[in-house]
């Protein structure tokens, strides 16, 4: 695609965002961390994108993707970030969809894909268990065959948005023989299946994003298995690469920079002095690091064909770098608030006082605290280093 065409595309995206990204949606996105319901904002933005045909940029055209090149996808994402659009949770479009496209049967594709696109199905991901975090292969939640069904017993933990989702894709143990990772299957279950219960887990910032799920004789048809029995670990790895290499890490950092710049203006109006050399230096370092991350994503993307995952080393590299950068960016953002950074805004908003201190900083504290999880969920930074080292050192 020629530069001129790309610029025309960028203009089209901007026009669309100008028109459809209402001030209410922008505000909601900016305040997203635990203040407004993630569910409503996401559903509304998902619908808007769905109507336009842009909700699944990475999907092949035949399944409802817009037929964009990787570069167009990148332009779309960077424009969304620049405009402050809500970030949709990746479980449906970025994770479940591509797995079904690659590993699903025709029946599964034709049933699930349109419903993911339309937003009828909201997915959550059942991977981790209390004793199987970094060491995913040690998972124990078991699916036992019973006629044409699997009967699932066990527990899953750290399940983001399980309380919004109506479907879950999950890893279950279908065999205890052979190597541990060889007895795992990938199955799909409706969240309203009898026997599934949800227990919320509050994050350090006091928000409810993750959950523990308990499965008590949960019965699903064997046709809800994706891929072969005991071959689920292959799919899991494919998906982890998506999670790690997925496009939204850099996008989140550029959002933080955007907030920082808005904060700068407001803060100075309120008498905070941010524009000193230490602040400007740190902000510049973050911007430079973001540039390095973005161009690394671009380099990797340009080696890809549509729909392929980025490979485990590149995925780990991006995940590691992005989470580190996000943590630095949110730390700097929080520091702009001075003592008001120490206010628990979630409690304040829940009580009578309302927001305390400058409005621009309403979610900086929650973002910083939640950001601690970035280097843990989806594989800790330590695990990412191990994956990279394996390839760098070779065996």
């Amino acid at each position: 695609m020629r530069i001129k065409d790309l610029e025309a595309f960028r203009a089209e995206v901007r026009a669309f965002l100008d028109e459809n990204l209402t001030p209410e949606l922008r505000d909601a996105a900016a305040l997203q961390a635990g203040v407004y319901s993630e569910g409503d904002v996401c559903r509304s933005w998902h619908q808007t994108l769905y109507q336009k045909g842009w909700v699944a940029p990475s999907w092949p055209e035949k399944y409802g993707g817009p037929g964009w090149t990787p570069i167009q996808r990148m332009i779309f994402e960077s424009e969304c970030a620049a405009a402050g659009a809500p970030i949709l949770p990746g479980m449906s479009i970025l994770m479940c969809g591509p797995v079904l496209i690659r590993f699903g049967t025709e029946e599964q594709k034709s049933f699930f894909l349109p419903r993911i696109l339309s937003g009828e199905h909201f997915w959550c991901q059942g991977y981790s268990e209390p004793q199987a975090g970094s060491d995913l292969a040690s998972l124990r939640c078991a699916a036992v065959r019973d006629g044409d069904d699997y009967v699932i017993n066990g527990t899953k933990i750290w399940t983001t948005h399980a309380h919004y989702a109506n479907w879950i894709f999950m890893l279950v143990r279908t065999s205890t023989e052979g190597r541990r990772q060889d007895g795992i299957s990938f199955v799909l279950a409706p969240m309203d299946t009898p026997g599934i219960t949800i227990t919320p887990i509050l994050s350090m910032s006091g928000e409810h994003e993750v959950n523990q799920l308990f499965f008590d004789d949960v019965r699903i048809p064997m046709s809800n298995r994706v891929g072969d029995e005991n071959e689920g670990f292959k799919i899991a790895k494919y998906l982890l690469e998506f999670e790690r290499g997925g496009g939204d890490a850099g996008m989140q950092v550029s959002l933080v920079l955007k907030w920082l710049d808005e904060a700068l203006v407001q803060a100075e109006a309120q008498g905070f002095k941010l524009r000193d050399s230490s602040y400007l230096t740190k902000r510049a370092e973050i911007e430079i690091d973001l540039l390095a991350l973005t161009w690394t994503q671009r380099r990797i993307v340009s080696e890809l064909e549509t729909g392929q995952s980025v490979g485990d080393v590149s995925a780990s590299l991006l995940k590691l770098t992005a989470s580190d950068l996000y943590q630095h960016a949110t730390e700097l953002a929080l520091a702009t608030l001075g003592p008001y950074g120490a206010v628990d805004q979630r409690v304040a908003l829940g009580e009578d006082e309302g927001l305390i201190g400058p409005r621009y900083g309403a979610v900086f504290g929650a973002r910083y605290l939640n950001g601690r999880a970035q280097s843990i969920f989806g594989g800790t930074s330590e695990i990412q280093h191990t994956i990279i080292a394996r390839s760098v050192i070779g065996r």
């Binding site: 981790s128 004793q131 975090g133 970094s134 060491d135 040690s138 933990i157 750290w158 887990i201 509050l202 994050s203 350090m204 910032s205 006091g206 993750v210 309120q270 008498g271 905070f272 002095k273 230490s278 929080l334 520091a335 608030l337 001075g338 003592p339 008001y340 950074g341 120490a342 206010v343 628990d344 409690v347 304040a348 009580e351 006082e353 305390i356 201190g357 504290g365 910083y368 605290l369 939640n370 601690r372 999880a373 280097s375 843990i376 969920f377 800790t380 930074s381 330590e382 280093h385």
Partner: protein
């Protein structure tokens, strides 16, 4: 100059530690934080059982006549149990000031501190001051027998449950700072109360022509005293941070020894071992700086202030490193609200935001070097 704790300091450390482990824990702290009466209960316990509210005060007023190293010992223990407020503002900050003010009102205030009938919040920080408490902007005007005070003070820790406030103002036309001892229920004084991320309570405070009697004026040349109280507060915060860090590392060691992944305890992975070693190094360096600043509190003001900046800078850096790695090594459970760990983490974060980041204190150190050189 033996730098080890002496016998009475060891006894102090052990008795505070024992009292807290018998009377205080994570669950009780969380329950208590929704109840604005809690700090008074704890303060009464301190007064009745271990006497530490009198730590820095002269014996003739009922105090224990102890020095900065004793305060360090107590603050480290309070940090380890996560109960720094309102000891810090009442005994350390207000105590430093009241001790140096030779008025009947000040002596009465000290007696009230010692028997836990006064709990004092510090109101001489100002909007935008971000950790520098000496930026005093409220105004006092004489009203015949006494004064009218007007102004405001943001993020006043312990303000919601304080019985009294130490309010800093600019006096008259010469612009010098003055300090007033003001009952929290004085008419014209309003508080917007809220919680901090570490669970403590704070308020934004507004004074609208609050009338106080003449003897509420503690000093009309408050700048040196405010500087001294700020450095004493910093020294105490340093010790508190060390107590918190020790607990963060202890919890992390314990967790990694128990948590199995890939068939062995996390504590057997070399990368995590070295991380915990690095945490230990940071804590030891921090403990040295906490001791250093305690000993330097009795030096000349420039020396004292430089020492406090150095200690805050170094310990602030150590605190972030230890806290962030404690969470990281706990993995997902570390990011939740389920463990005490998260409360310790947030306390370290709150200290950074309320008392100034390492960067800010390095800048203060640089300025103090330049001042010193000129």
């Amino acid at each position: 100059m033996n730098l080890m704790l002496n016998e009475s300091q060891c006894i102090l450390r052990d008795s505070v530690g024992r009292y807290l482990s018998d009377n205080y824990d994570h669950q009780r702290r969380r329950a208590a934080q929704s109840d604005e009466g809690w700090p008074q209960q704890l303060m009464r316990g301190f007064a009745e059982n271990i006497g530490i509210l009198g730590l820095p005060f002269p014996p003739e007023l009922g105090g224990l006549d102890c020095g900065p190293v004793d305060t360090m010992v107590v603050m480290e223990a309070l940090g380890g149990a996560l109960v720094a407020e309102p000891y810090l503002s009442t005994v350390v900050a207000a105590g430093t000031i009241l001790k140096d003010v030779d008025t009947a009102a000040a002596r009465n205030a000290i007696s009230a501190i010692i028997d836990a009938t006064a709990v004092i919040a510090i109101a001489f920080s100002q909007d935008g001051a971000a950790g520098d408490f000496s930026n005093v902007k409220a105004i006092a005007r004489s009203n015949g027998d006494g004064y009218f005070l007007s102004g405001n003070n943001i993020v006043t820790r312990g303000g919601p449950y304080a019985t009294h406030l130490l309010v800093g103002t600019c006096m008259g036309v010469d612009g010098r700072c003055a300090l007033f001892y003001v009952p929290a229920d004085a008419p014209g004084l309003t508080r917007v109360n809220y919680s901090l991320i570490d669970g403590d309570r704070a308020c934004d405070l507004t004074l609208d022509k609050v009338a106080v009697p003449a003897d509420a004026l503690l000093t009309s040349d408050a700048a040196p005293l405010i500087a001294k109280a700020n450095d004493a507060t910093r020294a105490a915060i340093c010790a508190e941070s060390v107590g918190i860090m020790r607990r963060l590392l202890a919890d992390t060691v314990e967790y990694t020894r128990q948590r199995l992944q890939f068939g062995k305890p996390l504590s057997e992975f070399q990368v995590l071992q070295h991380r915990m070693a690095a945490m230990h190094v940071e804590i030891e360096l921090a403990a040295s700086m906490a001791l250093m600043v305690a000993l330097e509190l009795e030096s000349t003001p420039p020396q004292r202030s430089k020492a406090a900046a150095a200690a805050m800078a170094r310990i602030g850096r150590a605190g972030r490193f230890v806290a962030e790695n404690a969470v990281q090594l706990h993995g997902a459970i570390g990011t939740t609200d389920e463990l005490a760990l998260g409360q310790y983490f947030k306390r370290i974060l709150a200290i950074d935001l309320l008392f100034g980041s390492p960067d800010m204190h390095v800048s203060r150190y640089v300025e103090s070097c330049v001042d010193h050189a000129n």
